[in-house]
Amino acid sequence: MRTSGAARTGQYVALLAYLVFLAFPFLWLVSTAFKPARELGSLHPTWIPENPTLANFRQAFDEQPLLDAALNSLVAALGAAVVAVLIATPMAYVMARHRTTLSRMATGWVVVSQAFPFVLVIIPLFLVLKNLRLINSVPGLIMVYVVWALPFALWMLVGYVRAVPAELEEAAAVDGAGKLRTLVSVTAPLLAPGIVATALFAFITAWNEFFFALVLLKTPEKQTLPVVLTHFIGAEGVADLGPLAAAAFLATLPSLVVFAVIQKRITGGMLAGAVKS
């Protein structure tokens, strides 16, 4: 298809505008993180720090328990990802292969759960977890995250199971393999990449989550990274910009790396879900 020169130019101008819009807040975050206090106080801030420093990072770790928070986040996110995938995969398999009432109801729940205002779920959960003495504990948070990650995990996994041809399983069955053996030696290996992608997605969702963590975790040593980050913003909204930027920058790195790895697969999962729902 031919595109005229003027149209091409227009396209490039538009693309550049998008690039600037997408990139500049992040570049500003990075720039702020490496600026010494003197430059942050300047009335004419610059894009490039004149005297780049790591002092903000040191100060950030001094001011707030960032290491503990990162560890809590890691445990919560890993726990949520592993448990969610372990229990979602068998269910997704049934949903993809058998159109029973149950799988139709599960599909309905996946859609409806996207519309919950969390506040309607969190108050009862708060009361229940309080009675179980699981408030202010990372295991309690993991339980919540697992259920919270389940709809999307199911959605992605159902797509991946459908991509494995049922004929392969039937062939294995005809060859005399039992149901379990078929699942383990035929289906599981083909599903593995999808399962890994789903687990990583659940990991990021939990790593980034804020609302449940804010409500359920009370003491600073139990809190996750996003909650601890908000402590840098004082009650009056006055913030120490440098350490704030440094801590925020660090908190983003793990999800950026993981996301870069799985982005393509998520797109596929999302597409499958969007079209089939």
Binding site: Q11, L15, T32, P90, W109, A115, F118, V144, F210, A248
Partner: protein, 315 residues
């Protein structure tokens, strides 16, 4: 695939096959339950259960840390809500926010997706950048934009000063500017996800259709209307419906950016309900707010679906 082609080589007696099939189906039904339970139990206990419990709480006077027992009070919470002007203010802001973020988000995402679908240089960079807002914790997105909007040390005001467009202002604490400023962040944060979904749809559209339409002399707009849009419409409708809901329910961004201020101008319903529940301990009242939010979301969804049907599609 080799396995599949090998199957017809081992025929079985017809009667054995049907009985084996029945057997397998019965086994499967048992097996299916066994496979489903590990996910079903947590869903029922931690999601469906609390949701029903939450709806029930809306009809009680439940409060945190109270000693006397909780009582049923019928629709009293809802009656109070009707007269709670602060709640309706937040509700209005919530709707304004949801629509005011979702629409530009969608249009910008569509534009970017169309661009990324062209053979342009630098599009790899745009794709890479589009990941950033999606992967970032919302709290970090909020913090980042606070740094951008910072009245003295922020890049926005400095750029405006450089361009000679006045001395800049404190965007997040101005009564008139706070909500639009927060909306820009909402658009920025949600746009990439929509872009990626639309782009995936575009890439499934056969290029030949475009070329055929171009040969027939269709202009860019006509090609978009007759070829591109019908192809991506199911995805476009699904993602914009989800965005509408997600935006209406959003919390973290605004909590970090303005905490509902100034003077409640950015107090979204979720923020209001959170404060009511966990600052003032009014569990029953906050649950009633949650119920009203569910009702509104259902109406929004229904309207969306009606629009979908009216435009005459089975999508």
């Amino acid at each position: 695939m080799t396995l599949a082609t090998a199957t017809p080589k081992r025929p079985r007696p017809a009667e054995r096959r049907t009985s084996a099939k029945d057997e397998e189906r019965r086994l499967l039904d048992h097996g299916a339950w066994f496979l489903v339970l590990p996910a079903l139990i947590p869903i029922l206990v931690l999601s469906v259960g609390p949701l029903l419990y939450g709806i029930a709480l809306a009809f009680t006077d439940a409060q945190s840390g109270r000693t006397e027992p909780t009582q049923w009070i019928g629709t009293l919470n809802f009656q109070d809500l009707l007269h709670d002007t602060l709640f309706w203010d937040s509700f209005r802001i919530g709707l304004l926010w949801a629509v005011g973020v979702t629409v530009p988000q969608f249009l910008l995402a569509l534009g970017l997706a169309l661009l990324l679908n062209q053979r342009l240089r630098l599009r790899w960079l745009a794709r890479a950048l589009a990941i950033i807002p999606w992967a970032m914790p919302e709290v970090v997105v909020g913090i980042m934009w606070r740094l951008v909007y910072n009245p003295d040390a922020g890049i926005l005001n400095e750029t405006l000063r450089d361009l000679g467009l006045g001395d800049g202002r404190d965007w997040l604490s101005g009564l008139a500017t706070a909500l639009p400023a927060v909306m820009v962040v909402g658009v920025w944060a949600g746009m990439p996800q929509t872009t990626v979904a639309l782009l995936a749809g575009l890439q499934n559209t056969p290029r030949e259709l475009h070329e055929a339409a171009a040969m027939d002399g269709a202009g860019a707009w006509r090609r978009f209307r007759t070829v591109t849009w019908p192809a991506i419409r199911p995805i476009a409708l699904a993602i914009s419906a989800l965005n509408l809901i997600w935006n209406f329910n959003s919390f973290a961004l605004v909590y970090v950016l303005t905490n509902g201020g100034p003077g409640g101008r950015t107090r979204l319903p979720m923020l209001f309900a959170y404060e009511e529940a966990f600052r003032y301990g009014q569990f029953g009242y906050a649950a009633a707010m949650g119920c009203v939010m569910v009702a509104v979301i259902s109406v929004l969804l229904a309207l969306h679906l009606v629009g979908r049907l009216r435009r005459g599609g089975d999508a």
